[in-house]
Symmetry: C2
Amino acid sequence: MTDLLAQLPGYALRRAANTVMGELGDILAEHGFRITEAAVLLLVRDRADLTSSQIGRTLDIQRANMVPLLNRLESAGWVRREPLDGKSMAIVPTAAGDAKIAQLGTLIEQFETELLDRIPAEHRDHLLPALNAIWR
Amino acid sequence: MTDLLAQLPGYALRRAANTVMGELGDILAEHGFRITEAAVLLLVRDRADLTSSQIGRTLDIQRANMVPLLNRLESAGWVRREPLDGKSMAIVPTAAGDAKIAQLGTLIEQFETELLDRIPAEHRDHLLPALNAIWR
DNA sequence: TATTGTTATACTCTATAACTATA
DNA sequence: TATAGTTATAGAGTATAACAATA
């Protein structure tokens, strides 16, 4: 019955993304962050020069939505806002943030490996280039 | 800068799905439906025996969330609720619904074709099986 | 006793408009 | 004049709990 819809790449893409993000969300929640927060943390890893706006443009997060997101990361003690000039703020990981990001990196690496493991070998290497062709 | 994240299948999956669903949402909105509504309509095409609960289980939509969704489809005049027994309701397309679903089918077919066209030929046929291996 | 349809509710994510201050 | 950060707000989508009626 669902076979009909599962023949549609768009539908399969939606279902696969929902499934994977649900699982990832559960894993990350156990460690105190949300998916979008994890993306921000991975982005600022080993960097101290990215502004809120730049992060938002890179990850496709509205400027306005970056504010509460960064507030949470700052409250958790993982990043701090550091003035670059009178207008822009650099988002820089704290020492605690560096440790947390390292932990996050391990989690993500394991998660991505297990994700690829689900895919039959003959299709596996095609997923990333196919997906990136769609959105980049 | 974004290259780092784009190497992660999970991240690419999320971005690709968001991009595609954003585009699809815009197209469908011009014709009066939302993505989840379109999925329901495609599912009940040429059928008159599916209940709200069955549709929800198939599409992974909570029973409670089916109610306002079906209310909208019913208000639009595309489906009607028809008692199967004293408890279950069949969701059956109206005549207007049949026409709308046919139109929707054309839209989706074109959309899916254009989606696949974006993918380099050597990766194209791998996308659907890879995605379905992830969630089914 | 399990299931269906329903109501009410809450939370997350996302989008928009507007404001202030600075480049 | 354009951009950065911010506030407030609204709309989707989704999740949970509870209820009455029926299988």
